[in-house]
C-alpha cells in the first residue's frame, strides 16, 4: 500500500474549491457587469474572496502555504485581468457600474493578498518574500 501524498490531497481540494467557487464567483461578477448591477458584481467578488479563504483554510489543514505554481498563476491571472480591465477602460465602452465593479475586484484582491502576507509572515517577513539579496551579500559569499 502506497499512501497518497498529502500534497495530492491538498491539490484535489484546491482544484475543487476553485472549480466551484472561483468560476461561480467569476460568473456572478460578469453577470453583474452584464446587467449593470453593482451589488451582483459585489456578490461575485465575495464568492471569489470565499474561494481564497477556503484555499487558505486548506493550506492551514495541510500546514503549508501557496505553492510557487499557484502564486505565479494567481499573480499572472490578476495581471492579465487587470490588463483587460485597463484596455477596456481605455476603449471607453464601460459604464460606471463596470468601473466600480472592476475596481472593487482588483482592490479587494490586492488588499486581501497584502492582509494575508502581513498576517502570515509579519510586515518584515512579507517584504522579505519579494526581496532577495544578491549572492554577493549573502552568507555563502567568500
Amino acid at each position: 500500500m502506497i499512501p497518497a501524498s498529502p500534497n495530492i490531497e491538498r491539490s484535489i481540494l484546491i482544484f475543487a474549491t476553485w472549480a466551484v467557487l472561483g468560476f461561480l464567483g467569476l460568473g456572478i461578477f460578469l453577470e453583474g457587469m452584464e446587467r449593470d448591477l453593482w451589488i451582483l458584481s459585489a456578490a461575485g467578488v465575495a464568492v471569489i474572496v470565499l474561494a481564497f479563504v477556503a484555499h487558505i483554510i486548506v493550506n492551514g489543514i495541510f500546514d503549508t502555504g501557496f505553492t510557487p505554481g499557484e502564486t505565479v498563476l494567481g499573480i499572472g491571472a490578476y495581471g492579465l485581468l487587470g490588463l483587460v480591465f485597463v484596455a477596456a477602460a481605455i476603449g471607453g465602452g464601460m459604464t460606471m457600474t463596470d468601473y466600480y465593479s472592476g475596481l472593487m475586484l482588483f482592490g479587494t484582491l490586492a488588499a486581501g493578498f497584502l492582509a494575508y502576507l502581513f498576517t502570515r509572515h509579519g510586515l518584515r517577513g512579507a517584504f522579505s518574500r519579494f526581496h532577495f539579496k544578491p549572492m554577493a551579500e549573502g552568507e555563502g559569499s567568500p
Binding site: I2, S5, A19, L26
Partner: protein
Amino acid sequence: MIWLPLYGLFYAAATLYWARVAAGLNGDYRTFFSAGHSLSPWISALVLAGMSLSGWVVLVGSAWIGREGFGLPVLLQAGIAFALPGVFFFKRIWLLGQHFRLSSITELFRSYWESEFLVAVVAVVATIFAIAFAGMQLSAMSGLVVAMTDGAVGAPVAATLLGVVLAGYVIIGGMRAVGYFGAVQAVLGFAAVVGFAGFAVIETGGFAALNAGLARMAADPAAAGKFIVAGVVQFTAGAGREAAAGHEGTALASFSLALALMGLQASPMALKVVLSTREPRGFAAGQTWVMAGAGGALIALCMACLGTAALIDPARSVGGLLASLSPWFGAWLFIGLLAGVQLMAGLALLVAGEALVRHVYKPWFHGALTSHGSVTVTRVVVAVLALVSVLMQQLTPVTLSMLGSLALPLALQLWTPLLGMTWLRWFTRPAVITGVGFGITGVLLTEPFGIAVLSFLGLDLPWGRAPWTIHSAAWGIAANLAVTLLVSAFTRRRGFGDEAREAQRFIETLLRPGPRVRALRSTAWSVALAWLFLAVGPGLVFGNYAFLGPEKAWLLGMPSLWGWSLVFWVAGLGLVWFLSYKMEMASPLTVRIPAYQPPPKLKPDQSAAERTRLVAFLVTVAVGFSLIVLVALAFGH
C-alpha cells in the same frame, strides 16, 4: 460563443494535468489498475457518490420528473437506495480484498466462487456500463453541445471530442487519475446540480411560484395523475403491449426501480473504488453523510426542483436552461455536468478494460502476458471501448439505449454472489451460479433488448417491457434469489474451495457481532422493512393523500408525494446511519488485516491449453453466429 470552448479547454487541461500526476505516481504501469490501494477514504466517498449521482440526477432523474411528474417517487429516495448496498457490502468486501490482496470484484469472485461464468458476467456487466450506460449520458452531453453552439459543433464532433478527453485521462493515468480527478469531478458535478436547481427555481419565480405552478397543474384533471402513484400494482402486459391505467408509476414500479438503483453500488465499478481504498474508515461516513445525506438532499430537493420546473414549463429543462442562461453560467454548468458524467464513464471504461484483459483474456488465452503488457493491452482496449461507444452514440442510438437499460438490472444480479461472500455464507457455489444465470434470463426476458432479440429470432413474447409495471431488475432478482435459495437448500456445505473457506473463517472471526448488535437486530429488521414498505414500497400509496387537507389543499405547500418523499428521505438517512454505525455494518475498523498465505501450487505450462481454448472460442463464436443467422432467416422478421 467563447465561454464554452474556454471552459472546455480548462477542463481538458485539468484532466491532462491529473493524468500526468497519476502516471508519474503509477510509475507508468505498476499501480495502474488499483492506485496502489492508496485512495484516501474521503476521496473514495466522493468518487462513489459522484459516480452514482451527478450525471444521473440531472440527465435522467430530472428529465423523468419533468415528463411524468411524481408517479415514481422512488426517484426522490435514490440517495438512500444508492447508499444501502454500500452499507451492506463495502466494509466486508474491502476486508476480503485486503486479506486476499485482490483489487477487483472479478478476482474475488474467481477466488471465492471459483467460477469463470461469474467472471464473464462481471466482464459483460462492466462492458455494458462502459459502452452503453455511460454512452447514453455522453450522447446526451453531445446533444447539449450541439444546442449550446447553435449547431456550429455537430454531434459526431462533440461526441468524438468528449470521447477523446475521457479515454485520454483513463489511458494515461489509470485508476489513480480516475480517483484523484474523480473527487474534483464529483464536487463539480454536485455544484452543477445545485446550480441547475437554483437557476430553475429563479427562472420560475421562486419556490412559492414553483409550487403554485404545480398546484395549477394538479387542479387540471388531465394532469392530476402526475401527482399520484397509480395504485400498488397493475397487471398489465407491459409497456409496448398494454397501456396501464393512468400511468405506469405504481408502487411496485417504484419498488422495483429502487432495486435497479441498488444495482449501481453492487456494480464492478463501485467495488473497484472500494478495493482501491486505503482503509475502511470512510465507508460509514461516506455512505451516511455524503451519499444518503448530501446526495439524498441533492436528489430530494435539487433534482425535484429542476424536474418540477420542467414539468411546469418544458422550456426550463436542462437544455432549455443552458440555452437561456448567460454564456458563462451555461458553460460552467455544462462542465460540471460533463465532469459528473465522465467520472462514471471513466471508471466504467477502466473497469471494463481491466476485466476484459486481466481477468478474461490473460487467464484464458495469454497467461504469459506480463504486467506491463497487461497495462498496454488494457490501454488499447479502453480506447477501443471508447471508440465503440462513440460510434454507437452516433450510428445506433436505439441499440445503445436498449443495452444501457440492461446495466443496472444486470448489476443487481451480482447481489447473490456478494451476499454469499459477505453475509449469507450458506449460499453454495452451484446455487449462486445457477441463480445468477436465472437472474440474467429474467432481466433479458423483461427488457426491450431481450424482447427485441427474441423477436428478431422469430419468438414474439406475449409481454412487453416491465410486465405488471415491475422493472426487469425485480423480475431478475426474484428468479435469482428463488433459485439460489432452492439450490442452496439441496447442496448444503458443498462446493467451497480453500479460499472460500478461509474467507468465511476470516469474516466470522473478525466481524463477530457484539451483544449490543445482537440485541438491536430485531429493531434493525423492523425499521428497515418499515422504511422499505413506506418509502419505496406499497406504502407509497399513502403518500398520495398524506399531506392533503380539505378540498385537496396541500398542507405543506407542495405536492403530497414530494412532502412524503422528503419525510422518508430524512427517515432513510436515519436508517443508513443506524445500520452503518449502530449495527456496525460499515463502521470503522482499525485492526491490521493479515495477508492470506495460499498453499503453494505448481503452475503448469498452460500455453497448449490456451491455444486449444482460443480455437474452441473462435469456433464457438463462428458456430453461434451461423446458428443465429440461420434461425433469424428461418423464423425471424
